[in-house]
């Protein structure tokens, strides 16, 4: 029976009020306006001539039930106090009805109305009488009140000598003795020390437990979260949100973070984080007109307070103005303050001159003439990683967009990331989610995990544990350790999914084994990069294969096969591969290849074909690509162009690069034919041929056959994927990549 804000119930404003037992406050279609002085109506000295109706509430519907403890949230001047005054019948609504059942005690401004010259004790009696309590009754309970107020010997001193905290303590204690059914409290718990605030909050909760109802306003989000079971958020003359306190408070604080005025206010108070945010508002024209000067001013302010992101942004601006020296200094400062981006930029600026970066960019840009998504992505990625100015980001975005339009999932992820962090573009969560889900639906593991994070962590978007769980689960099934952990946690706690401890245990187990393997992998990478102890790394590899880690088994098998670090042992290699093949599609394709290579008969072995076929069923794109080739060349199966195309397309959809390129070539060809433009074939071939030689060591086709379908994971996973184009790319521009790790 949650109250739904809206107009759905307006019609049933009853002639004869039918009131359910537990609804103590019922508001229907309540409207209220104030007269304000509007300067736009002329400068007449007579106020009456400049007065204007200013609606403060426009159709409020609300039911408050007995036992509710409702927090009222909203910006200054949104009508929180007016709302309480209306409920307490101090003010009357212009339209609509407010029914209140029960005695109301409105404690609107706690410390008002004390007589400064009188003692705390006398003031207790006076105030209680104003609340309508019999004098005798007050005197009877006087000691109790004094004890509650914790004022000790001060109680007999004049109230004017009290501190404001003491005053509010006194005031609240008086309220304790007030007998009413509904308590309206305005900004009551904000003063007073922590101990008293929690005491007071406890008292309110007790009141509610004994069947009373409390409405109170506060600017302290925590107080409302702690105390209330329900909160309403007043904004723009209506109840903007009504629901469980935590949710409303979260939504409200998010909106405050996004509000320019509020942030500006904080910024003026000297909060460097707010100053930085103001600068981003000016940059993006968010809630205020774009203004570079203002942006610069606020960045300067924030940078003076050593705000790392401000330092970084300011350095970017200086960079674009050619003031490299100053920029370097700023980057260094920001890097010291822990800003990752600045560290990277500082390092890359220090490591190599800008010219070198420029050169590198030019090379990568040159590749883009091939119009392959892979090249677009590489260049976009490079621009993104080495971006120093907004322009760089914009260019990165442009190329990534091209790659993304061609279905390149890595590009989708990067774009999603840019939208999420507001790198060079305006922050846009919807777009971020759009791109990430696009990539995730194409099977991109990182995207799935990122989406999970996005929905789980409510900082940016609305918290949605169910959605988060969905994505985590997807990513965990593909073997992402962090997601496995999250899934286990969520199952265990019943967050976003039904509680299932058995399943949680299972996922924890999978997580721990992935964790162990992850650390092993890291160790392997380190050993490899340092050309460390071969025997040690081989042992690690063996341990990993023993725990059925398919990738290591494949790698190990490769080593047995080639005799690198081991005695050449083709049988052991074959065994390992068979084991790995049992776990998934990808190793099957590899195994099939190995068997085919073994086979000296010149015929393609049936076993390999079967393996490939089953790998296709597992959804391995490499296998599909292979299958397509079978159909093309008529190996084992008959030549069949349609089947060839079908498998090629399937492989392309699953993200196999070579398949994609092939499919794209078809499309380009048809396009060209359609346009009837005789672009020479040689140019097209030459264009894509040149970059390949630089990028990959081998021709792309064989490279992709060895590599996994989603090859773009970066060099961390590259251990097993020797032929993978991206892994090799790192050897091309060596100075850039390692620093970004």
């Amino acid at each position: 029976m949650e109250e739904i804000p809206g107009n759905a119930v307006v019609e049933e404003v009853p002639e004869v009020p039918v009131v359910e037992d537990d609804v103590v406050i019922r508001i229907r279609g309540m409207k209220k306006s104030y007269h304000i002085i509007d300067p736009s109506l002329g400068r007449s000295k007579l106020h009456t001539k400049r007065k204007k109706e200013y609606p403060i509430f426009d159709g409020i519907d609300l039911d408050v039930r007995r036992g509710d403890i409702v927090g009222i949230l909203g910006r200054n001047g949104c009508g929180k106090s007016t709302f309480l005054k209306l409920v307490s019948e101090i003010l009357e609504p212009d339209e609509g009805t407010i029914e209140v059942h029960g005695k109301v005690a409105s404690i609107l401004e706690l410390s008002m109305g004390f007589h400064g010259d009188m003692s705390g004790r006398d003031n207790i009696i006076l105030r209680s009488e104003l609340y309508g309590i019999q004098r005798e009754h007050v005197i009877e309970h006087l000691e109790k009140i004094i004890e509650y107020s914790d004022l000790g010997i001060f109680i007999d001193n004049p109230v004017r000598t009290y501190s404001s905290g003491m005053r509010s303590r006194l005031a609240f204690s008086i309220m304790v003795n007030v007998d009413a059914d509904i308590f309206l409290v305005d900004e009551a718990l904000s003063t007073g020390d922590m101990a008293f605030a929690s005491k007071a909050s406890e008292h309110l909760k007790n009141l509610v437990r004994s069947g009373k109802t409390v409405l109170f306003t506060s600017h302290s989000m925590n107080t409302i979260k702690r105390t209330c079971n329900r909160a309403i958020w007043l904004s723009d003359r209506v109840i903007k949100m009504d629901g469980p306190a935590e949710e409303v408070v979260d939504a409200y604080s998010r909106s405050i973070n996004d509000s320019f005025e509020e942030t500006l206010h904080l910024a003026n108070d000297g909060s460097s984080a707010a100053q930085y945010r103001v600068s981003t508002f000016y940059r993006d024209g968010n809630g205020v007109e774009k203004n570079e000067e203002e942006r610069r001013r606020w960045l300067n302010e924030a940078a003076l307070r050593d705000h790392p992101m401000a330092l970084n942004d300011l350095a970017d601006i200086l960079m674009s103005e050619g003031k490299t020296e100053e920029a370097m200094e700023m980057y260094q400062k920001a890097a010291e303050a822990g800003n990752y981006e600045a560290r990277r930029k500082f390092a890359s600026l220090q490591g190599e001159t800008l010219d070198e970066i420029q050169e590198l960019r030019q090379v990568l840009k040159g590749f883009c003439s091939s119009e392959y998504p892979y090249d677009y992505y590489n260049y976009g990625n490079m621009m993104f990683k080495s971006a120093l100015t907004i322009k760089d980001y914009e260019e990165a975005m442009e190329y990534l967009q091209k790659a993304s339009d061609m279905g390149w999932s890595d590009a989708d992820v990067l774009i999603g990331q840019m939208y999420r962090d507001g790198n060079g573009v305006e922050r846009d969560i919807d777009k971020c989610v759009h791109y990430l889900s696009k990539a995730a639906n194409n099977g991109h593991n990182k995207a799935m995990a990122m989406l999970g994070d996005l929905f789980y962590d409510n900082k940016i978007t609305k918290k949605d544990p169910e959605e988060a769980f969905k994505w985590y689960m997807m990513s965990a099934s593909v073997g992402n350790a962090k997601s496995q952990y999250q899934v286990a946690m969520m199952l265990d706690g019943g967050i976003g999914v039904e509680k299932d401890e058995e399943a949680a245990k299972m996922w924890f187990a999978r997580y721990s084994s992935s964790m162990v393997n992850d650390s092993r992998k890291i160790a392997l990478d380190i050993l490899k990069s340092r050309r460390g102890d071969m025997a040690l790394s081989n042992n690690i590899l063996k341990a990993m294969s023993r725990s059925n880690h398919p990738q290591s088994m494949t790698t190990l098998a490769g080593k047995y096969l080639t005799g690198r670090g081991f005695k050449k042992n083709e049988k052991a290699a074959m065994d390992l591969m068979r084991k790995a093949a049992a776990a998934g599609g990808q190793p099957r394709t590899k195994l099939a290849e190995m068997i085919a290579n073994e086979d000296k008969s010149g015929q393609y072995p049936q076993e390999s074909f079967d393996l490939i076929k089953s790998a296709c069923e597992f959804g391995d794109s490499g296998a599909m690509y292979k299958m397509a080739q079978f159909y093309k060349d008529g190996i084992i199966v008959e030549e069949n162009v349609d089947m060839y195309r079908k498998y090629m397309k399937m492989a392309a959809e699953r993200g196999n690069r070579d398949a994609k390129m092939t499919v794209m070539k078809w499309e380009q060809r048809t396009e060209r034919r359609k346009n009837d433009k005789e672009k020479s074939q040689s140019k097209g071939n030459g264009g894509k041929g040149a970059p390949r030689k630089q990028n990959a060591n081998g021709p792309p086709r064989t490279g992709a056959n060895k590599g996994p379908a989603k090859g773009g994971k970066g060099p961390n996973k590259g251990g097993a994927n020797k032929g993978q184009p991206k892994g090799n790319k790192n050897q091309g521009p060596p100075k850039n990549k390692p620093k970004t790790q």
Partner: protein, 242 residues
């Protein structure tokens, strides 16, 4: 009641004699007036101090009610608490009224001690006339304080206007001494009737003029009717305007 207590008990709270000041203040006031008009600016009238104080306190009382600050000064009660709003006006009028009552107690005690001639039937009319004056003042307070809520300037204007009223009411002079224009004004001034009744009772020691009494009743009824009409018509707007 609590409001009155707050106003009265609080007033002299931070002093040594405390509540005694409520009696002491009028007594000392009378002493000052006596000294002034006996030694500094002597008047030929016998026991002029009785005449002065009998007139002075009612005029001060009525003019304080007419100053119209009652609601504005207690705005916090109107805007923050749900109490009957007329109580705010009534309590402030009653608080001032107490001063008059205390002052008259002092005067009567002194008169009795000095063994002057007293007309007992006139004395009986004293509470009646005090009550009439209270009703009249309450009406005034309702009216003026309501207007002051909406037009603040009225309050300031009334403060000055009340200074004038003291000089067109027979307090420092006898009503019969007034000549020409002043005489006309004096008898158009509603305060005069109340003050003259008190003069009759306390100074002249006679039963008050019947026509003054009748005028007191009529004025009290009219003023109270107008005042409360205006007040209750507009009281709902107070919390918004204040």
């Amino acid at each position: 009641m609590a409001l009155i207590r707050r106003n009265t008990a609080g007033r002299y709270k931070n002093s040594y004699v405390g509540f005694l000041w409520h009696l002491l203040m009028p007594a000392l006031m009378i002493v000052v007036l006596t000294i002034t008009f006996t030694y500094i600016r002597p008047r030929p009238l016998e026991d002029f101090w009785v005449y002065l104080s009998a007139g002075m306190f009612p005029v001060t009382f009525i003019s304080s009610c007419l100053r119209g600050r009652a609601i504005v000064q207690n705005a916090k009660y109107i805007t923050k608490m749900k109490i009957p709003r007329e109580l705010v006006v009534i309590s402030s009028v009653l608080t001032e009224f107490l001063t008059v009552v205390f002052a008259y107690m002092v005067i009567i005690i002194v008169i009795l001690l000095s063994g002057q001639y007293v007309d007992w039937s006139g004395f009986l009319m004293l509470p009646v006339e005090l009550f009439l004056m209270l009703i009249f003042s309450l009406g005034c307070a309702y009216l003026i304080s309501t207007i002051t809520v909406f037009i603040n300037d009225v309050g300031y204007f009334m403060t000055i206007a009340m200074r004038l009223v003291i000089w067109i009411t027979p307090t420092f002079f006898l009503a019969s001494e007034a000549k020409g224009l002043l005489a006309t004004i004096v008898w158009y001034n509603p305060f005069t009737y109340y003050v003259e009744v008190f003069h009759d009772i306390l100074y002249y020691g006679t039963f008050p003029h019947i026509e003054y009494l009748v005028m007191s009743v009529i004025l009290a009824v009219i003023m109270f009717a107008i005042g409360s009409y205006v007040f209750f018509r507009y009281e709902k707007k107070f919390p918004e305007v204040l």
